[in-house]
């Protein structure tokens, strides 16, 4: 009975987490609003997926302890821990951050006041929040997702892969449907910016389309019906998206997934027809097209080149600042925005830049150094390999191809929209977990076949 109740709660927790990760709802910013007083203060953004991740993690620890199932638990691989270690190293080895903490400790006495001074130093606050968030995305989230989707806590394996994927598709579909309204400024669903929203769709669609491409059945009618539905989903998504970079990433991901799955003809037909249909519909979306073209435009309203692209060179330049020990360990997790302005030198530094339009790789190279950037690639490579192995072990299962498509889209789109911010990292963790689930399932099927 207890086991049954736990199983129900597990399913409910998984559903809630997957649905919530398709949003970026702000549950409230921590910190004082000081703009009315004439100066800005950095406030910490508390996203719904982060809170939900924490709640589900607490439940997961509780139920695993009660079921005494820790020995059967799958643990995230070493590269995930390596990334967090790199974040810690970037904090303690940051000249700027340590000096800021040192300054805040001047004339402070008593353990309580010292701790308060450390925690309220803005550089440390950002570093602490970032490390905590990334620990959630790269350790807690994969731990939860893999063990809830491929639940080995009981005598038999309980598979919740379909439940999670259906919820993911529903979450993405809801995010798309809400943007069918005519106002282009609304094209961000429950996300804090159109860029984060576009990024989610860019990585989600290759996964969902891989399922559509997968029907290896003799029923031709069913094949046509699913292909048509998939194509329509793609057309609707293309009509709501503003970022042309995200669209490019999405199509690249779908094509790679289709080719990996050896469904080349179907992929080509679906993508080409969907793009033609979407382009014909775009002709009726006057204002949206204006915003779309803006994403590919090099100049801004006042400069020859947008701040977004100028900052690429500025960020690369900061990595070679020896005073900051920048190249190896960066200037400290979460500290990218601090002092970047001083590295512009004579390059124009416009005031505003669209949110989440940073290059993730340069943000990482700056804040965590080359060690942190390498650790992220190590993680992506590790899970990419697992997805590829799953596909090789069971060529009929589409999930491995879907994860590969998603990862390719992720790698591309992060040049233009940083996608591990304020709750969005949970989606990546979900995809990484699916690679493990696909591999475990393929291995189990193989073992069953052999026996």
């Amino acid at each position: 009975m207890q086991r049954k109740i736990f199983s129900w709660v597990d399913s409910a927790a998984l559903v809630l987490l997957v649905i919530c990760m398709c949003t970026q709802i702000d549950l409230g910013a921590i910190g004082r609003e000081t703009l009315s007083q004439g100066f800005a203060t950095k406030r910490l953004f508390i996203a719904l997926p982060d809170v939900m991740l924490l709640l589900v993690f607490v439940w997961f620890v509780l139920r695993t302890s009660l079921l005494r199932a820790w020995k059967k638990t799958w643990w995230p691989p070493f590269p995930c821990f390596a990334l967090i270690a790199c974040m810690v190293l970037s904090i303690i080895h940051s000249h700027q951050l340590v000096q800021a903490v040192q300054n805040s400790l001047m004339d402070v006495h008593g353990i309580k006041t010292i701790l308060k001074a450390i925690l309220t130093t803005k550089e440390f606050k950002e570093a602490f929040a970032d490390t905590l968030q990334w620990t959630g995305y790269f350790i807690f989230a994969p731990l939860i997702f893999v063990n809830l989707m491929y639940d080995r806590s009981g005598e038999k394996v309980l598979l919740r892969r379909r439940l999670a994927l259906v919820c993911f598709a529903i979450g993405v579909a809801l995010a798309v449907v809400i943007n069918l309204l005519p106002n282009p400024t609304l094209a961000k669903a429950w996300f804090s910016s159109p860029n984060a929203y576009a990024g989610l769709l860019a990585i989600a669609l290759p996964m969902i389309l891989a399922k559509v491409l997968s029907h290896r059945t003799a029923n031709i009618g069913w094949l046509w019906a699913t292909a048509f539905l998939g194509m329509m989903a793609l057309v609707v998504t293309l009509c709501t998206l503003i970022s042309l970079w995200a669209i490019t990433a999405m199509i690249l991901g779908i094509v790679v997934a289709g080719f990996m799955y050896k469904a080349r003809a179907r992929t080509a037909v679906i993508v080409i027809l969907a793009v033609i249909l979407a382009l014909s519909l775009w002709t009726r979306q006057g204002m949206r097209n204006y915003y779309r073209l803006e994403t590919w435009h090099v100049p801004s309203e006042t400069q020859f080149v947008k701040k977004q692209y100028i900052e690429w060179y500025v960020a690369a330049r900061r990595t070679v600042d020896r005073r900051m020990h920048s190249f190896a360990t960066g200037i400290g997790a979460g500290n990218y925005q601090f002092s970047i302005g001083s590295y512009y030198a004579r390059l124009p530094n416009e005031e505003k830049m669209p949110p989440d339009s940073n290059n993730l790789y340069l943000v990482l190279a700056d804040s965590l150094g080359i060690l942190g950037l390498a650790a992220l690639f190590w993680i992506l490579g590790y899970f990419f390999k697992r997805a590829y192995e799953a596909l090789r072990l069971n060529p009929n299962d589409w999930l491995g191809a879907g994860v590969i498509g998603l990862l390719i889209a992720f790698v591309f789109v992060n040049n233009f929209h940083a996608l591990i911010v304020r709750g969005t990292g949970t989606v990546l963790a979900f995809a990484l977990s699916l690679a493990i689930v696909a591999k475990m399932q393929a291995e189990a099927a193989l073992a069953k076949g052999e026996t």
């Binding site: 590269p79 190249f327 190896a328």
Partner: protein, 231 residues
């Protein structure tokens, strides 16, 4: 069957260990060079060495080390993480023997190659047979990261060069390009040396067991002896 495969693998292991020793020596030389610069006023350096020292005691001098020795990729990550930090310090010392290079592309750009960089380059060349056989996982990730940074840095410079005037006193300053290229190269060679040092079981074991000693020396030097040397 077993004995034949064991005897076949023995020369390879010996070869890996043989050239791997050059890498271990190079890393230790870098560690010694890191004792020379003076970093007074930069509290992050002794703090980092203190934390690394504590971590290395747990990782290298407890039964945990035996597990680490079996996983070359994990050991490689630990060694690389430590050596990247140590090298960052070691290259601050030029000792009057540093070489200066000019890219020849832009006026006024020069870069000083430290003795540490020369040691690392020599170590990478001499230990080539070891790192060419163990190039995987973490090592590949570091190389991809270095390449990504180089492509984005040089690519964005080329792109901005189409719109802004280029020059040391113009809008687009090219002087960071040479340090960027040299940083990428230096850390690439350092990665190769770390890979080579962790390639053979014996060299890996010796290096892991000796890293805490290197860190004790570095922590002692930078926490308590803050005078003299180059900065």
């Amino acid at each position: 069957m077993v004995s034949s495969s064991a005897s076949a693998s023995l020369p390879k292991a010996q070869r890996l260990s043989g050239t791997g020793w050059f890498a271990v020596v190079a890393l230790w030389l870098v560690g010694l060079l890191a004792l020379l610069p003076d970093v007074s006023g930069d509290f992050s350096v002794p703090l980092t060495f203190f934390i690394l020292l504590l971590a290395s005691f747990i990782v290298c001098w407890t039964p945990f080390c035996e597990k680490l020795e079996k996983h070359s990729d994990v050991a490689m990550f630990c060694v690389t993480a430590v050596m990247f930090i140590v090298y960052g310090l070691a290259r601050r010392f030029d000792g009057g023997v540093a070489l200066t290079v000019h890219s020849g592309i832009f006026v006024g750009d020069e870069y000083s190659i430290s003795p540490a960089a020369i040691v690392v380059f020599a170590g990478a060349v001499l230990s080539a047979p070891a790192w060419t056989r163990q190039f995987r996982g973490w090592a590949k990730a570091v190389v991809i990261a270095l390449l990504t940074l180089a492509v984005l840095g040089f690519g964005s410079f080329w792109f901005l060069g189409q719109y802004y005037t280029v020059g040391a006193t113009e809008i687009l300053d090219p002087t960071p390009l040479l340090p960027l290229a040299m940083n990428v190269l230096e850390f690439f060679f350092l990665t190769l040396v770390c890979v080579a040092a962790c390639a053979g079981a014996t060299t890996r074991k010796v290096l892991l067991k000796s890293i805490p000693i290197m860190l004790i020396l570095l922590f002692g030097r930078h926490a308590f002896m803050r005078t003299g040397g180059d900065q």
